[in-house]
Symmetry: C2
Subunit: 214 residues, 2 copies
């Protein structure tokens, strides 16, 4: 299933729409939703909602709107969230451990959440063998083997900034296709690897700007 050249600005809004639909589906408030209301709840204009969805097909009915459950399932298909995606966490400090814990719990509790953390890695030998939510911390030496044998496609990097680039390179070499980076550095990856950044320092510094009196 491929629709070429969809802008990332569009792709970023799809999970937003999906979240609204998940919520509505759970509460069974209604069967239908208009682009106006979906946009309202997602924080996006109604015209943009329609345009975003139209890139992938015709999901609505004129004069009626979109069927919530149907659109929800279609969006899950589009976002590739139908099958379980295996995830590794590299760097098991308190942040890495917390993220692993959070996602493992969510996977167990929410049946529509399809991201499964299934391996933890850390360079510190003292941590090897430590258990977190049923997973033990592995040596970085095992990275490539485990990623390949366990079909891990995504990784979360929570190592100190100075090691992040090396880790990212190793992950790319091991066949990882998407990385969420928490380390406060710009990292480079090959074109076929997707990168998302959760750079808290950057966000906090940006917020500081707006604290100034206006």
């Amino acid at each position: 299933m491929r629709w070429k050249k969809i802008s990332d600005a569009v792709v970023r809004r799809l999970p937003l729409y999906l979240r609204v639909l998940d919520e509505l589906a759970k509460n069974k408030d209604a069967k239908l939703i208009s682009s106006h209301e979906l946009g309202e709840r997602a924080g996006v204009g109604p015209a943009l909602v329609r345009k975003d969805l139209a890139w992938f097909g015709e999901f609505g009915k004129q004069g009626v709107g979109y069927e919530i459950e149907y659109l929800r399932l279609e969006l899950r298909k589009i976002l590739n969230l139908e099958n379980v995606i295996r995830v590794a966490v590299v760097g098991v400090g308190s942040l890495g451990a917390a993220l692993a814990r959070f996602h493992i719990k969510k996977f167990l509790e929410d049946e529509s959440f399809n991201l499964k953390v299934c391996a933890l890695f850390d360079a510190d030998p003292d941590k090897h063998g430590d258990m977190h939510e049923g997973l033990h911390v592995r040596d970085m030496e095992e990275l490539e083997d485990v990623i390949r044998s366990e079909d891990i496609e995504m990784a979360i990097i929570t190592v100190p900034a100075e090691f992040a680039q090396d880790v990212a390179t190793n992950l790319a070499n091991a066949g990882i296709r998407a990385i969420l980076n928490f380390a406060p550095v710009k990292i480079s990856v090959p074109d076929h690897v997707q990168l998302a950044t959760a750079d808290l320092s950057l966000e906090l510094q940006r917020l500081a700007y707006y604290l100034q009196e206006e």
Copy 2:
């Protein structure tokens, strides 16, 4: 110090430039940097670097470039990072505790890092009094008093999604001016409160899209 109507797209790049300058200043590699090299290191085009900086003044010299240390200090002024900014963490689960720990350590280790976590709050009475890096967990009842008496301007929300909006409202009422929200929900705040979102689920779902074969 106010320059009206600077676009957020511009403000978001300033911390990126600052990080590059911090790095260069630490290593004392050189005294000067061109927009070309600064852009290179920050991942931004050279013309855009010059245009971004030009919003705030004339910091460079034609034919020469920008003085690293000078520009670094000017950027710190512009971003309002000269004085310590006090921060509260609301929701002390494993993620909240990890973030508090991370930032408190960074504040102690890096003298140019001016964000100081100085209060922790949680709704769970079992956690009240627990210590994290020298701070005890307080009751939510104390939120407003403590924020006002300790001059706390910024908050990090790490409570479960269903409580995030209430917490944000309470924070806004207590006079908080900027919020970094980790809860996976859209929250609304008054216009005078700045909001940054660290919505990991959204990022991971976006990444999932790109895992599809092309």
